[in-house]
């Protein structure tokens, strides 16, 4: 009985793993092939291993602009996600733990911000930035990326659930200031939630390409998604780019997987400390 109970779930999870990983495997295999072999060898198994050549070509193409895009993406996403998570956490925490007039109004307005289509925001943002002659700059993509209404929503929910009012009261009685309490006590209790918010924010910015597409003219400022997209539109003219797009796509996933692996460790620790109480 016990074995059956374990077998079925394991089979389900195994099948799902295949579903999720086979396309990634395909990408890895595709990126390891030369252009000639890409179309006429088995799609799921390696032919002559040219991944190193592809990578070399990818990083050398147009004076290594791809590497630059990767760095940009890390800056845009890492920076925006870190700062954005902090801002969202503070706001969500305040909405959860303080009663003040206009609280629900702010919350509802912020929440409905999640519903606005990206296409509706990007174009007006461009026109607003151009009033200040700030388009085509790092900040024109970075600043709007800081705002994450969904993060505020999550932070509020998690703060309500994981930060007991009694603890805050106790801290107040100890004479700890509100802001200090937040950074020393509350953030610790909310840590798993913060990691979640960070992760989702990170991925959202990493994937966002409409805003940079509209804001940026200078190729050197592109994040990697826009760069790959722009190569993909040129495949008509330069078919060589197809292999670079595939190799680039593979490389662009790597930092996220690494980030996730690192965060997962924190997450577990965070959960462990949460369980002690």
């Amino acid at each position: 009985m016990k074995n059956v109970n374990r077998l079925a779930p394991t089979l389900v999870m195994g099948a799902a793993t295949l579903y999720f990983l086979v396309p990634i495997w395909w990408l890895l295999v595709a990126a390891s092939k030369s252009r000639g072999q890409f179309t006429n060898t088995a799609p799921l198994w390696f032919a002559d291993f040219s991944l190193v050549d592809n990578l070399r070509e990818l990083f050398a193409y147009r004076d290594g602009v791809f590497l630059r895009w990767m760095l940009n993406s890390v800056l845009y996403t890492g920076g925006a996600a870190l700062l954005g998570t902090l801002l969202a956490a503070m706001c969500g925490y305040a909405l959860a733990k303080y009663r003040f007039p206009g609280r629900e109004a702010i919350f509802n307005v912020v929440l409905s911000g999640v519903l606005v289509p990206a296409t509706a925001l990007a174009l007006p943002l461009f026109l607003i930035f151009s009033q200040f002659e700030a388009t085509n700059t790092f900040w024109s993509v970075f600043l709007p990326s800081l705002v994450n209404p969904f993060g505020v929503y999550l932070a509020r929910i998690y703060a309500t659930a994981s930060v007991p009012d009694e603890l805050l009261e106790a801290a107040r009685l100890d004479g700890s200031g509100e802001i200090r309490t937040f950074f020393t006590i509350s953030t610790r209790l909310m840590f798993p939630a913060l990691v979640t918010i960070f992760l989702f924010h990170f991925v959202a910015v990493w994937n966002n390409f409409l805003l940079p597409l509209i804001m940026l003219g200078e190729e050197k400022l592109f994040p990697v998604t826009l760069g790959l997209y722009s190569w993909n539109t040129q495949v008509n003219q330069i078919p060589e780019l197809r292999m670079l797009v595939l190799t680039g796509a593979l490389v662009s996933i790597v930092p996220l997987v690494i980030a996730f692996l690192i965060l997962q460790r924190f997450w577990r620790n965070g959960l462990g400390s949460g369980a002690i109480k």
Binding site: F20, G113, L143, W206, Q264
Partner: protein, 287 residues
Amino acid sequence: MKGKWKALTFFILPFVLLFAAFYLAPILYAIKQSLYKVERKGTFGKATEVFGGLDQYQRVFTDGPFWESIGRVLLFGIVQVPVMLGLALIFALLLDSGLVKGRRFFRLAFFVPYAVPGVVAAIMWGFLYSPNLSPFTAVTSAVDLLDADLVLWSMANVVTWVYVGYNMLIIYSSLLAIPQEVYEAAKIDGAGAIRTAWSIKIPLVMPAIVLTTVFSIIGTLQLLAEPAVFRTFSSAVTSTYTPNLTVYSTSSIPNFNLAAAFSVVLALATCVLSFAFLKVTQRGGDK
């Protein structure tokens, strides 16, 4: 009390300011734009923007393809969202049940697709669907996954593939937040894994499921990257296939005013649907 206000300002103001500048201001700007229209003289005359009242909205409401596309994404959502969230819930419960070894591996494996940018995911699946180049030619040469009947569901598969892991994590993390004491009570009652899942875990993670549903509804109405990429290799995907694609094609005509009106209507439709869903589920919860 003074400390409270100082702290509140410190906590809330930075976010609210940024939100006002980068969310509210553009939305108001888009609404304003949607109330204008252009006038010009002669075939190459310079366009001047004049107040047009609800002219653009009249166009939006009489635009057949736009409403067809809304119907299409609704159909998409009605089928795809439950499938995706059902899978996410099952996987989250299995991970949480302790019946499966290698939890960390599965968590990572299921989440990896979410790391693939939407545009790249669509390009990738395009190859996997291709009649001749796919690794699964046994399937793709028999059934055209990119024709008018199936392409919507082929895209649904891409979206499902990317987002199941993400939704699973949201649900899973709220499962982890359930205090151990709750389970101990169940253990004493002698409840099995399935009963625990059904009568304890699912009700407790309901808020997370509602949340992911709302976000999936929003995501569905705003489909853009997948149809935009699929357009290049499927005959069935038109330039007005989804509402957002209509917005995008209208703004690249360029007809900024009409595009703004489309976006405003789309945002309103999204709001109405999400709030309606929230209301319905809240009423269910009150019973």
